[in-house]
């Protein structure tokens, strides 16, 4: 809403006029900075100019290299002044300017003088500035002073040196690690802050030495810790020790008593830290949790919002794994629903939704209804998701929860929020049969007034799938046909498809649907007309009450078991020719991420996380490449290409990786080679493959590389025959053989004579997972039911001791090489059991679905129940064999 223009009152004008920085300009301030060069320094004036420079920098203004250098040199002149206030400003200014390496030399002597000064405060500040601007070489010169400073009697000097150490540890760890004796001494300091900083530094120095950390924790938990901040650090390090000890020890948990005693500390910060540490213990028991939950419950009614937030956030996490432990706090949590801070209110609501029982659902929904109107969309989405899981937990309560969802669907809201509601309704319809008709009608009403094309088309598609299966499909037709009149072309086209589905699936409706479809033949949009024409001509029987042919139904409405991204690239690559586009030629495999990260070690995504870029299309490229090689042309259709497997270490002379291409009766290895030596040219490059440990494979062809110049990758191929349809496995050892010729990198001249040489590569294995293609299904349950139990094979396996449940789950997934469905590859923290759903296609185009149920007990023993369904009993058996032999 536009604000009415308000006349500024006089006071405000005055205030603005007198603002010390009104109309401040960088150029003018830089001019003013010349006062730093005056022979007679005016400390007051100089301080004012520095303040202005700081103001500019704090506003996000930047200085060019020349400007920064000029200011820096001028500021260094100020060391001549003995004015204390000015000196403090100079220290800050030098840090803010962070001079480059060649300029630092100008101030180092002044700073080193200050560092050994008798005035303590000069020492402390000089240390901080030096450590900020220094590099490794200078550091070795001043190391002696820094070590002394760590044990200085003045706590400010000691803290300055310790905090400098924490920062320097990132850049020059080898130097800082030499100070551990002094830091150890500082940990015993009587000054609270020195102890805090020393503890942090000591832990960082020794963090990879488990025994040292454990000793540090043991001694400090028995001794005295002077500041709450240090006590919090100690609690964190203690939980680390507990976590690592728990894998080797059983019985009583070490240090639990210490954590529990911290719950009675006088500082809230410490109490909270201990409570949180207890709730996050691995496999925490109810008895251990109780005291922590009790203090968190007290924090819920604290007058400080920060404490309330911290408590409710922790309880929210606990509710995910131990909902029963949190129920005692429900009354306090309910009063937080009206908390002014909406973050707190949302956390309280979502916790209550997790801990509430069936009888409290209705009361809770009433409270939430009032609450929803005054929170932002992002919070609403969290609430909607929590309600969805509550409904799945208490299916009998679907009526009130569905009503709630439909009510909020009618209110104002952005796309993401509306999408979350629609998704929830769709999931409830799928999982709770009783909710179906009610939910579909809510969705129908929503599309009558929906401003989002994407949601309208999604709902229309869903209506087409579910609507015809209801008791009275005709009642949905009105809502769908309204779209043809009222909406944009995209929605109209979707509505036409939905109408046709009703016509095809419900024979009684067919004549009436045909009348409606015929009207769409005069639509203004090509796509709408085309669809109507297609359906009128294929659904068939000229609109009589006759069943539509199954083949036609499958063709028009059957699920497309090809990833859309693949079909898109295949269509783009298709060049108009006499041969029509063949949909069977589109690869079905879900593309996986290539091994790209290995090439750039240590490169981490910066900041809060930019999305990773999508994988390039490789499947089509492989197919094109292989079909262009005459030796492989009669191998038939490519079933699957693996991700590249590295056969050399990173940064070696020759980088080689291999891609395994699987055909029905053949396997082709594609060795991608790169020569990383500028002074060499490789010729006649071959890979000598020893298949003695792969008995079922016989080499049939190979394709060497004539020359491999520096930094221009080339490919070598080797083809092997194997028994048809059998997932043969084996190990291949590889040797790169070539002729090396010297190259003059400056001129590019190549010597005529070369030397034959060999280079050992790592072994390569063909495993069972290579014969399974990752092909996802959109609805696992439907797919599982439709395959049926005819060839179902179920067995149980013990996986032995494992680090965690998540590790066991990912190991089995990678062993089978199948596509995890519905996000079941993610295992919740601390969970004791997990179900994982996988789907794929086995060589020979046989669909396979796998349901894995995992359980873990105390000493980390993992047991697994494996149920396989496929279209072929041999394949079901083979999946079990893979697991049994893996």
């Amino acid at each position: 809403m536009a604000q009415p223009l308000v006349k500024k009152d006089d006071d405000r004008d005055d205030e603005a006029e007198y603002s010390p920085f009104l109309g401040i300009e960088k150029g003018a301030v830089l001019q003013e900075a010349r006062v730093f060069n005056d022979p007679q320094l005016d400390p007051r004036r100089c301080s004012q100019v520095i303040t202005k420079l700081l103001y500019l920098l704090n506003q996000g203004e930047t200085f060019t290299k020349i400007e920064a250098t000029e200011v820096f040199f001028a500021v260094t002149k100020l060391f001549q002044s003995r004015d204390i206030g000015l000196r403090r400003m100079v220290y800050l200014m030098i840090k803010e300017l962070s001079p480059s390496a060649d300029e630092v030399i100008i101030v180092t002597s002044s700073l080193m003088k200050d560092m050994t000064s008798k005035t303590d405060m000069y020492r402390a500040n000089a240390i901080r500035v030096l450590c900020r601007i220094t590099d490794g070489t200078l550091l070795t010169q001043i190391e002696r002073y820094l070590k002394q400073a760590i044990v200085d009697k003045n706590p400010v000097v000691a803290s300055a040196a310790l905090v400098s150490g924490i920062h320097l540890l990132e850049t020059t760890p080898e130097i800082v690690k030499r100070w551990s004796n002094e830091v150890q001494e500082a940990v015993q300091s009587r000054a609270a802050l020195v102890q805090f900083h020393a503890l942090a530094l000591l832990h960082q120095i020794r963090q990879n030495d488990r025994l040292a950390v454990s000793k540090l924790v043991t001694s400090l938990t028995r001794g005295t810790v002077r500041s709450p901040l240090a006590q919090c650090l100690l609690i964190r390090y203690t939980t680390q020790v507990i976590r690592e000890a728990a894998t080797t020890q059983t019985g009583d948990r070490p240090f639990y008593d210490f954590l529990e005693s911290c719950l009675r500390h006088k500082a809230e910060m410490v109490i909270f830290e201990a409570a949180r540490a207890i709730t996050e213990l691995n496999g925490v028991t109810n008895r251990e949790l109780t005291p922590a939950i009790t203090v968190l419950q007290l924090f819920l009614s604290s007058s400080k919002p920060v404490l309330r937030f911290a408590a409710v956030r922790t309880l929210n996490k606990v509710a995910m794994t131990h909902p029963m432990a949190v129920t005692n706090c429900n009354i306090d949590m309910e009063s937080l629903i009206s908390d002014q801070n909406r973050s707190i209110a949302t956390l309280a609501i979502t916790t209550l939704l997790k801990t509430g029982n069936e009888s409290s659902v209705d009361r809770l929904m009433k409270q939430i209804t009032n609450f929803m109107s005054d929170i932002a969309d992002e919070f609403k989405i969290v609430v909607v998701e929590a309600i969805r899981s509550l409904c799945l937990k208490f299916p009998l309560k679907y009526r009130s929860l569905m009503n709630f969802l439909s009510n909020i669907l009618r209110e104002e809201g952005g796309f993401e929020y509306k999408k979350a509601i629609v998704d929830s309704i769709v999931i409830l319809i799928r999982d709770i049969p009783d909710a179906k008709e009610n939910g579909l009608l809510h969705l129908c009403e929503f599309i009558e007034d929906c401003e989002f094309t994407y949601l309208s088309t999604q709902i229309l598609h869903f209506l087409g799938t579910e609507g015809p299966k209801t008791s009275d499909p005709s009642k949905y037709i009105r809502y769908i046909y309204n779209r043809v009149h009222l909406e944009n072309a995209t929605v109209r086209a979707a509505a036409v498809s939905t109408l046709a589905k009703f016509g095809a699936m419900v024979d009684a409706l067919k004549p009436r649907v045909f009348v409606l479809l015929r009207r769409c033949l005069y639509d203004g949009d090509d796509e709408v007309r085309d669809r109507a024409t297609l359906y009128l001509n294929t659904v068939g029987s000229d609109g009589e009450v006759i069943e539509t042919d199954k083949v036609v139904k499958d063709f028009l409405f059957g699920s497309l078991d090809i990833p859309l991204a693949n079909i898109e690239t295949s269509l783009k690559n298709y060049e108009p020719a006499e041969q029509p586009f063949d949909i069977n030629s589109v690869p079905k495999e879900v593309k996986t991420q290539p091994l790209a990260e290995k090439k750039a070690p240590g490169k981490k995504p910066a900041g809060l996380g930019a999305p990773p870029s999508g994988p390039p299309s490789t499947v089509d490229a492989y197919e094109k490449l292989l079909s262009s090689i005459p030796e492989f042309s009669d191998f038939g259709k490519l079933f699957k290409s693996s991700a590249p497997v590295e056969l050399t270490e990173a940064e070696t002379e020759y980088a080689v990786n291999v891609v395994k291409h699987i055909f029905d009766r053949h396997v082709v290895f594609q060795y991608n080679c790169t020569n990383t030596i500028p002074e060499q040219l490789l010729e006649n490059v071959t890979v000598i493959v020893d298949a003695s440990e792969a008995e079922e494979f016989a080499e049939v062809a190979s394709k060497p590389l004539r020359s491999l110049p520096y930094d221009s990758p080339g490919q070598i191929f080797g083809a092997f025959e194997k028994p048809e349809g059998v997932p043969a496995v084996g190990k291949f050892s590889n040797m790169l053989r070539f002729i090396v010729k010297e190259v003059d990198p400056t001129t590019g001249d190549v010597e005529d004579d070369g030397v034959e040489d060999e280079y050992q590569l790592e072994d390569l294995e063909v495993v069972a997972a290579d014969y399974v293609m990752k092909v996802g299904v959109s609805n696992f349950r439907n797919a599982w039911e439709s395959i049926g139990p005819d060839f179902e094979r179920v067995d149980e396996y013990g996986l032995g001791p494992r680090e965690s449940l998540a590790e066991a789950v990912s190991a089995v997934i990678s062993l089978l090489g199948m596509q995890p469905c519905e996000g079941t590859e993610v295992v919740a923290n601390n969970s004791r059991s997990h179900t994982c759903l996988l789907s794929g296609v086995f060589i020979g185009n046989v669909k396979v679905l796998v349901r894995l149920q995992f359980g873990i007990d105390g000493p980390k023993e993992v047991a697994m129940k494996l149920a396989v369904r496929s279209e072929d009993d041999n394949v079901s058996d083979m999946i079990h064999e893979i697991v049994a032999s893996g």
Partner: protein, 147 residues
Amino acid sequence: MILAVLFANSEGNILVERFNGVPAEERLHWRSFLVKLGADNLKGVKNEELLVASHKSVYIVYTVLGDVSIFVVGKDEYDELALAEVIFAITSAVKDACGKIPTERLFLDKYGKICLCLDEIVWKGLLENTEKDRIRRLVRLKPPNEF
């Protein structure tokens, strides 16, 4: 790590911003996010009453002091409680530097001193000092009282 300390006036103009470990291209995003957060929630809030929010894995504690809104952003060990400690140190140091709850004018008048206080409290993303008396002495290059 304390990712950011930001001061804004009541109209949402930045008075001080100090980032640590935040890439330059993300700073603008953070600045506008925080200013919007303040505009949405700080109206009618009492001086020094702490508000808290979390965004992804990052925590934000913010408050109002006279004409000035103060935001502190942290992650990992600097969770909401640690940040509450940081912001408490900042508000008490600012009040101490200004002599009372600051107006925007007073804040700008004492700008240099406030920058020095901040320098003592947060150093490259780590909390260094928390007590206002100690900070007051440190900015004047005087040793702390307890020494």
